[in-house]
């Protein structure tokens, strides 16, 4: 399987985040991806490091279909700023034209732990290039691939960054593939994929399904409930599975199967998996109890749909176990669109 990742990802390195009154080390750090790359050394997969954006016009065009141009230009412009940590937000969403930076940042960001750094755009768009290449490969060969995305994307909504996310990588992949047939997005991150849901909430060409911690107790709090089924054309095309703390392998598996059965009824042509490895029992900011070995079962179960699949890394914050968990997942996914052994 081809595995794409942004070679420049270390340029995006948030140092700290403010949580519950404390300044703590940031969780979304480069060592996450480095731990995965180390674990994949010597594997049969083909690691493809992407240096920079080479298809900017096409990528911008597709990004404009899932994010508002106003948001994209604002995000693009943050390159000229020093590190920015938004701290004040609109509760009503009503904003007048204003020049004050705090208001502008608060307009496009949902929380205080998603900073805008000088290289954020550069790395995020290089990740988008990875997605672009993976979708092209998928469309040409019907093969599956993995994108080790940094920064992650599933909390990024149509006009908002948040939850460490800026550009919605999974939605970007789905947007491109949706021109060739219905797409399903299965989000198995610990946190609800609120950005992905926001983007496709009124669409019936992209089915969205998320299995996650109950938002009554975990981020993103304001989305991810069972009753959220879609609007307009999208009614019935969104489904959420909010779960209690301490979910084990055996408790998770039937829910995964139920989610996949729900997806299958729509007969999608492509599958995007938003893979968060923060469902692991060791994750420092989550409270599920999945084991390393289970990720292989998870991947095999998902591959049972028999669809060309692009798996996109979302969360997963244990920088010591994320690599072996990914290796376990790939152990189950290897049969999907398998290619001859590659090299790094």
């Amino acid at each position: 399987m081809n595995i794409y990742y942004p070679r420049n990802h270390q340029l995006h390195h948030p140092q700290t985040e403010f949580f519950n009154g404390e300044m703590i080390p940031h969780s979304e750090v480069p060592s996450r991806l480095e731990n995965i790359l180390s674990a994949l050394e010597g594997s049969a997969h083909t690691l493809l490091a992407v240096d920079r954006v080479t298809d900017f016009a096409a990528i911008w065009h597709e990004l404009s279909q899932i994010h508002s141009p106003e948001y994209l230009v604002w995000l693009w412009n943050t390159q000229v700023l020093q590190a920015v940590y938004p701290s004040v937000f609109s509760a009503t969403g009503v904003l007048e034209k204003t020049w004050h930076q705090s208001i502008q940042w608060g307009r496009f960001v949902t929380d205080i732990f998603t900073p805008l750094l000088p290289h954020t755009w550069e790395v995020a768009t290089t990740t988008a290039q990875c997605i672009f290449m993976a979708t092209n490969e998928c469309l040409q060969n019907r093969t599956s691939s993995l994108v080790l995305a940094r920064p992650p994307g599933h909390h990024a909504g149509r006009s908002r960054a948040g939850g460490y996310c800026y550009l919605n990588n999974a939605a970007f992949a789905a947007q491109i593939l949706s021109k060739s047939g219905r797409v399903a997005i299965l989000d198995v991150d610990f946190h609800h994929g609120n950005g992905t849901q926001d983007i496709f909430y009124d669409r019936d060409d992209v089915v969205t399904c998320s299995i996650h911690a109950d938002p009554r107790r975990k981020f993103p709090y304001f989305a991810g409930y069972e009753a959220e089924l879609g609007v307009g054309n999208g009614v019935g095309y969104n489904r959420n599975f909010p779960l209690a703390a301490g979910i084990t392998d055996t408790q998770y598996q039937p829910l995964l199967e139920e989610a996949l059965a729900w997806i299958a009824q729509f007969e999608p042509k492509f599958l995007i998996v938003s893979l968060g490895l923060d469902t692991h029992e060791s994750d420092p900011i989550a409270d599920f109890a999945l084991t390393t070995g289970y990720y292989q079962t998870m991947a095999k179960t998902i591959s049972g749909l028999g669809l060309p699949q692009i798996t996109v890394l979302e969360g997963g914050y244990s920088t010591t176990s994320i690599g072996e968990n990914m290796v376990s997942f790939l152990g189950g996914a290897r049969s999907i669109g398998a290619k001859k052994p590659g090299r790094r």
Binding site: R52, A57, V73, W76, W99
Partner: protein
Amino acid sequence: MTEHEQTGIVTSVGSLGVDHAASFDRSYWNRPVLYEDPIDLQHDWHSFLAESLRLGRRRAMFRTMVAPDVMAEIRGRLPVEAALPVEENFLTYIGANAHLQTAIRAELLGVQPRELVLPAGYILDFATQDTDAGQLFSLWGQFGWTREGVENMITAGTTPIVIIRDIEERAIATMIAESLEFGDQILVELTEMAVADSEKGHGLASVLIRELARHTQNYFGGSPITYGEYNMTTGAHRSAMRAGQLPANSFSDGVLRDHVSIETGPGNVVSESSWSTRWLHDFMVLYQGSE
């Protein structure tokens, strides 16, 4: 067919209004209004940039007038590349590229103006001769000129020009000036500076800049805003500094990043891209202060 396509005359100063089909994959907006509110400026820049990016253009360049208190507000907020003082306001370049930096970064150390003397054996001239076409074409071919374009320029005889001739009266160095009415100001851009390879090292470039700047003051009258955009890879910006021109660096470093592609100087980074980025160079904006 554009005027350029009709005449073959290469222009640098551009025209007023939005042009999303400017040379070197650029979007260009010359807007002769004075911004006195940063929100309006940001809005217009964002709108222009969004359209440029939507159209897949490599670079967006917005040139307009900005009030001083607004300059202070946008510093570090909008990508100001250069700003040169015009009365109490600033002619401001806001620019950005869709790609990463390609041009080799030149050092920004300044050089001091010096007393310039045309070396013996050279002749200064402000008029063309019909026999100049071949030599001027050999100097300007690198900038995209055609022989026909040079001949048309000579025939028209409307372009302010400085030529340094050798003892045999061959044009061995030259530079021209272009003008643009920009609101109630006249912009005069000194451009197409070229010195024959065999004549380099004698300080002729600085003489060209100084003499043409003086000539245009008389030619256009009043107080035109006289400036140039100088290739930093070839060190042309240092020639302008020696001639007494001032960097437009009040609110930034005055450098237009990856501005224009010219096949001179060492090659830059070759990046895989849908744009031609092989020969992009940084250009520094320098202007003529009051003497």
